[in-house]
């Protein structure tokens, strides 16, 4: 990754005031920051999603460093149990909205930076409008649906996602910014099953641990704004506090990624894993194209059921697939009881996801939905042919 050219002097970077020069003198002394770099930071806009264990130290250091605009997304209030690690807040803040307490603290730390408060919980309907316009997003959330949503929105908008996460004594940091590197879904295509995910509230977290991870995120955000150094793209940094050990793993882009591959970049945002309303995808019900292809040539090939409308089916369907439109499925589920496992599919995998859940709820145990639908199937078909040429 070449350094972004230091000659990218732009006339629209804000000038430094005498106050800026005094306050940021230790930055101005660094050749990699200097006057130009500090002006870049002053022009920089960083959004912190979550102002908890990770967001708190990140916010403090980014404000101190002179990042001109810092957005905060949080709808929580300060709880006494936060104070063990969320160093942005004081005992007197307990019960206050985090945005108010954080805003006051950051303003007193550095009145030269602008704090933008987004009093919201990120969801598929507001994510793009909140993230749009920021140069960098720092993911300091505490749950998987938010992490996938941040990733998906960042990929859509082309914004680097500075990822950090912690649990008990361990932490992870990376920067997801395709096409330069992988996205979060390239590394972890699906969230873990809900029952396997104790939160920090249940499992615990060592107080200073999110500090070290959140500060690593702040450093990555500063490097991105400055265009200096080697960003943590394509690398996952693992931290083990008990061993006091950092390790690094290479993370590659998944050409079939359901978010950052070209055909999926701008797919509509969805709530992932544990989202409300039962519409979230259920990884246990899904079958991938490759796996289905293997199953179809195996000893007990599954029964394929196309749940689209008859005219879609007529325009082309998988060999030997039976047509049962989603609307008729409940009434005709009896046709599918038998020893053969069932795989339902549609164009994109949304309708068949509903179909699979419906059939499961009706008592069918061997039912799965083709992940990504016919679109993904055709995609993998093309790839398979190309690779055998």
């Amino acid at each position: 990754m070449p350094r972004r050219s230091a000659t990218r002097i732009s006339v629209d970077l804000p000038a430094l005031s005498a106050e800026d020069r005094r306050r940021y003198s230790r930055h101005l002394a660094l050749p990699q920051v200097g006057e130009l770099g500090q002006r870049r930071l002053k022009a920089g806009r960083v959004l912190l999603v979550g102002t908890g264990g990770l967001g708190a130290p990140a916010a403090l250091y980014l404000a101190a460093a002179g990042v001109g605009t810092i957005g905060l997304v949080d709808s929580d209030q300060v709880d006494e149990s936060n104070l063990q690690r969320q160093v942005l807040y004081s005992s007197s803040d307990v019960g206050r909205p985090k945005l108010d307490a954080a805003g006051d603290r950051l303003a007193s730390l550095n009145p030269l930076v602008r704090i933008v408060r987004h009093d919201a919980e990120l969801d598929p309907s507001n994510a793009l409008s909140i993230l749009r316009g920021y140069d960098v997003v720092v993911d300091g959330t505490d749950n998987f649906p938010a992490r996938y949503l941040i990733n998906d929105a960042c990929v859509d908008l082309g914004i680097p996602d500075v990822f950090g996460s912690v649990y008990r004594f361990e932490g992870q940091v990376s920067v997801f910014h395709p096409p330069n590197g992988p996205c979060y879904r390239c590394l972890f295509p699906e969230p873990p099953p809900a029952e396997a995910v104790p939160s920090c509230a249940e499992g615990g977290v060592l107080g200073a641990l999110p500090g070290i991870i959140g500060m690593a995120q702040a450093i990555e955000a500063l490097k991105i704004l400055l265009g200096e150094g080697r960003p943590l793209e394509g690398r996952l940094l693992l931290f083990d506090a008990l061993e006091m050990q950092f390790r690094e793993l290479t993370v590659r882009r998944d050409p079939r990624c359901r978010r950052c591959s070209p055909r999926h970049r701008h797919d509509p945002l969805v709530a992932e894993g544990g989202g409300e309303g039962g519409e979230a995808s259920d990884p246990d019900l899904e079958i991938g194209s490759e796996e289905l292809r293997r199953a179809l040539s195996g000893a007990t090939p599954p029964l394929l059921v196309d749940v689209r409308e008859p005219e879609e089916y007529a325009a082309g369907h998988l060999p030997r697939a039976r047509l049962i439109p989603l609307g008729e499925l409940r009434g005709r589920a009896g046709e599918l009881s038998g020893p053969r496992p069932v795989v339902v599919y549609c164009r994109m995998g949304h309708r068949s996801g509903r179909a699979a859940r419906l059939l499961r709820d009706l008592g069918l145990t061997e039912v799965r939905t083709l992940s990504g639908g016919l679109a993904a199937w055709e995609d993998s078909d093309h790839r398979a042919r190309r690779s055998t040429r």
Partner: protein, 92 residues
């Protein structure tokens, strides 16, 4: 002496006994994981979805490479290799 060095996420509470369950010799990583699943129902549920599909909520590294960038579940594991399961952490 375990032939293959195995690292499981500490959050899985799998203990340290797992290194010993691996038979010696070369085998595909899919079989290594299946063997691991047979050693404990808890591990099985962590590793595999109800229909037996390997979950995609963690990454499996063989030495320094994600096995998805090698040959996936058919990637061969040899004596002396290190298999590491990298979990997805959600906390913040």
């Amino acid at each position: 002496m375990p032939k293959v060095q195995l690292e499981l996420p500490s959050a899985w509470n799998a203990g340290s006994a797992v290194g010993a369950v691996l038979p010696a010799g070369t085998m595909p990583i899919g079989e290594v994981l299946a063997e691991l699943g047979r050693s404990s129902p808890v591990l099985r549920a962590r590793l595999f979805a109800p229909h037996g599909r390997l979950r995609r909520s963690f990454a499996v590294y063989l030495n320094d490479d994600d096995v998805r960038s090698l040959s996936g579940e058919s990637t061969l594991v040899h004596d002396g290799d290190r298999v590491r399961i990298v979990p997805s952490l959600g906390g913040g």
